[in-house]
């Protein structure tokens, strides 16, 4: 932060070595970017709070919640996509996509994620709004903060914090809804019948939301967030940033109505841009690490410019190149198509295609065979040789299935399934959306050989869907 450390030092002592958080009282503002921020807030919060209640029919054998992370049974559902633990690479893909998309957007438009969509920004914005409704705008809040403790101050502060806690509790409650059937958990809340795990999570997240959005605020962006720091690496001179047009604005100074604009800049030093800033910086000092590019200073300045009949855009979204070109009197176009646009775009498309392929090619059944290690083979009294295998059948459909297992590459082979009940190789039952595990014995009359390559093939008895797995058949001791 650009706050002066010497100011802190006045307090002296060890604590004086550390920068005190200066309380920021963002002033209310109207304008295009403020409206965009309201829309972004309503949309993102709406999705967050309501999405767990969306339903998605998956038949009788799977949950009907559209977005659900079912930890006890290790499944994640997202509309028609379902992820098993072994498909966690899809999550890796999503993280890669999210990171590259962040780089891509940042290189073109600057830190729009920070300014409009980041949960830290959205919840802080919401909390500041609550603060303003209860305690009044910037000056009123400042005054209240400095005022002695009266009943009025006390009730206002308590009300604010109470509403903050309610919002935090709803936030935490919604988070938990993503991990269990939302409507039934929602109802059990009101019956005071929820598990201690749920309560621990709600307690922890309520506390963290309250702390982060109520108190930590811009400190998170400045000191804790790694993305804020490395997003500057995606910036170049063609990236849209929020900039103060110093050429036009300087020399700044107060201005009386009717005075001439000759020989001075258009900035009347009203500090409207500073007063509305949620991170407490002065944008006129140039691009700063703390700036989350929310555009509220643009709105504030434009409103002032309208009042004093000057053109808008003293503070504006612009690129460094564009601003420099304007100074020279030339015309510079926005250069959206730059090398990094292409390579970020290429990586995005590439990873996106891989993920699309893995989702489309997701097999409804998978087979895994594990050859017994001890004993490797068994000599039967008839002279036949027997090998044991553990068979795992992954039924990824939402229907109960029976599968037929056969073996290729081994003549006159018989498969015996070792299982409770009367299970044969033609009739291996696997419940919907689960893994069936069987131990099987394959016996065959073969001339002894150390290793024979064989192949197991499983076929869904109700359709033509099949899957195969390569394995071995051993009938003689020795090294391969």
């Amino acid at each position: 932060m650009t706050k002066s450390p010497s100011q802190n030092k006045k307090e002296g002592g060890l604590l004086g070595l550390f920068a005190k958080q200066e309380k920021i009282y963002p002033k209310r503002v109207w304008g295009k970017y403020r409206e965009l921020k309201w829309v972004a807030m309503v949309v993102t919060l709406g999705i967050y709070y309501l999405a767990p209640f969306l339903r998605w029919d998956r038949g009788p054998n799977a949950p009907n919640q559209a977005i659900l992370i079912d930890l006890p049974s290790r499944r994640a559902y997202w509309f028609n996509i379902e992820i098993w633990p072994q498909e966690v690479y899809i999550l890796t893909g999503i993280l890669i996509l999210a990171a590259i998309a962040l780089f891509f957007i940042t290189s073109l438009f600057g830190r729009v994620w920070c300014g409009y969509f980041c949960p830290q920004t959205v919840w802080t914005d919401l909390y500041v709004w609550v603060e303003r409704i209860i305690q009044g705008d910037r000056n009123a809040r400042k005054k209240l903060h400095d005022a002695p403790w009266t009943l009025d101050k006390f009730s206002k502060i308590v009300t604010t914090h109470f509403i903050w806690l309610v919002i935090a509790w709803c936030t935490a409650g919604s988070f938990v809804l993503y991990f269990t059937d939302a409507p039934s958990l929602f109802i059990s809340f009101f019956k005071f019948d929820v598990s201690s795990t749920v309560l621990y999570f709600i307690g922890g997240l309520t506390f963290s939301t309250y702390l982060m959005a109520g108190f930590a605020r811009e400190q998170v962006c400045t000191y804790m967030c790694p993305y804020a720091r490395f997003q500057s690496a995606m910036f170049d001179n063609d990236t849209l940033i929020i900039g103060y047009d110093a050429e036009r604005g300087e020399k700044r100074g107060s201005h009386k109505k009717g005075d001439s604009w000759e020989g001075r800049g258009h900035c009347i030093d009203c500090t409207a841009c500073v007063q509305v800033c949620p991170v407490g910086i002065d944008i006129r000092d140039g691009l700063q690490m703390e700036c989350i590019a929310c555009g509220l200073c643009v709105d504030a300045c434009n409103n002032i410019m309208d009042k004093i009949d000057l053109p808008r855009g003293l503070i504006r979204y612009d690129t460094a190149n564009h601003m420099a070109a304007k100074v020279k009197g030339g015309k510079e176009k926005f250069r959206f198509l730059r090398p990094r646009t292409f390579y970020y775009g290429f990586i995005l498309a590439f990873v996106g295609c891989i993920m699309l392929y893995t989702l489309i090619a997701r097999a409804p059944v998978e087979l895994h065979i594990l050859h017994d290690r001890n004993p490797v083979f068994v000599q039967l009294s008839s002279g036949e040789i027997r090998n044991g295998y553990t068979v795992k059948i992954l039924n990824k459909t939402h229907d109960h299935k029976t599968y037929a297992l056969r073996v290729e590459g081994l003549e006159n082979a018989y498969i015996d399934v070792k299982s409770a009940g009367n299970v044969t190789a033609d009739n291996m039952y696997v419940a919907a959306d689960s893994v069936g595990s069987y131990h099987i014995n394959v016996r065959a009359d073969v001339t002894p050989a150390i290793v024979r390559d064989i192949k197991f093939i499983i076929k869904d008895t109700g359709s033509d869907i099949s899957s195969s797995y390569d394995s071995i058949f051993v009938s003689k001791k020795g090294n391969k």
Partner: protein
């Protein structure tokens, strides 16, 4: 303290490039910029300190000469282990009650009980049986392979259960008992006669006949057939092995067979009655039965079921 003095005595210097003031410290011309940590960092640091003090008080933490501080929470990993073991035993109990009452047939047709039996049996096998029979029940010389379909005393669930309970030649009333005569030691047969009967026995499982075939056959019928049967197929009543198959407990070469006939074999399987509880023996029975050689109660020679 020197820092404080600096502050009082010197005016703050502002670095021209970054616009940040310096701390006044200088090393070989390099000056340190003053970018202070946020103050809440101090509070977080103090909070972690307080947490660690709390931890030292509640949990075992510091080594002492004779051990370590115990902590007032009474936490110990041994207690934790005991608790989780108790938890497991309690979880097993829900199955054990059902398992105890269930018949073999019921267990074989109930996937839960079946899984309980095979899992428990497998672990009990590794604890108690693997010493002789091997971890995979593959056996060894003198110790039968329990995966195959060749049983000395029978391979039905009841047979296996009986063997497990009372053992073989284990010295109790109900144990399985038989004795092969030591034909050579006891001078019943001479060397040539033993070789003749060995060669005859080898023909039963497909070896070529030798010139002593007739003599061997005659000796076999006189000395061996009473237990091993006229055709050499053995008898489970006396644990006499089938001599016509491909499986040999002590080895199927001529020399080993000579030794077997000369000094006889009498393997011992301990009785597990009283050493393992009834449920464990029951689990072991199911586990061994499903290893691959278990026989049905009514031997129908695995006639394929056609509809």
């Amino acid at each position: 303290m020197s820092h404080q003095d600096n502050e009082n005595n010197q005016k703050k210097e502002i670095d021209k490039v970054s616009g940040v003031e310096t701390t006044g410290h200088e090393w070989d011309g390099l000056k340190e910029l003053n970018n202070p940590l946020p103050r809440w960092w101090v509070w977080v640091f103090l909070a972690t300190c307080i947490w660690s003090v709390w931890y030292w008080v509640v949990y075992p933490a510091w080594p002492t000469i004779s051990g370590h501080t115990q902590g007032i929470g009474g936490h110990s990993q041994f207690v934790e282990l005991e608790n989780s073991q108790q938890e497991i035993i309690a979880r097993q109990q829900t199955y054990l009650d059902k398992f105890e009452k269930a018949s073999f047939d019921e267990i074989l047709n109930d996937s839960e009980l079946y899984a309980f039996a095979t899992a428990g049996g497998a672990s009990a096998f590794k604890d108690n049986c693997a010493t002789c029979h091997g971890t995979g029940a593959e056996g060894g010389k003198g110790y039968p392979n329990l995966n195959d379909d060749d049983w000395l005393w029978g391979g039905t669930l009841e047979d296996i259960h009986q063997t497990l309970e009372y053992g073989i030649r284990a010295g109790n009333e109900d144990t399985r008992l038989s004795q092969m005569p030591a034909f050579g030691k006891e001078k019943t047969l001479n060397r040539n006669e033993i070789y003749a009967v060995v060669d005859y026995v080898l023909t039963l499982s497909g070896e070529k006949q030798r010139e002593t075939y007739a003599q061997g056959a005659q000796i076999f019928q006189a000395q061996c057939a009473s237990c091993h049967g006229a055709e050499g197929k053995g008898s489970r009543d006396v644990g006499a092995p089938n001599l016509t198959d491909k499986i040999w407990l002590y080895g199927g070469d001529r020399q080993t067979l000579y030794q077997t006939v000369y000094s006889a074999r009498a393997g011992v399987m301990p009785s597990w009655h009283g050493r393992l509880n009834d449920n464990t023996i029951k689990q072991l029975t199911i586990y061994l039965h499903q290893l691959g050689g278990g026989e049905e109660e009514i031997n129908n020679d695995q006639e394929p079921v056609t509809e």
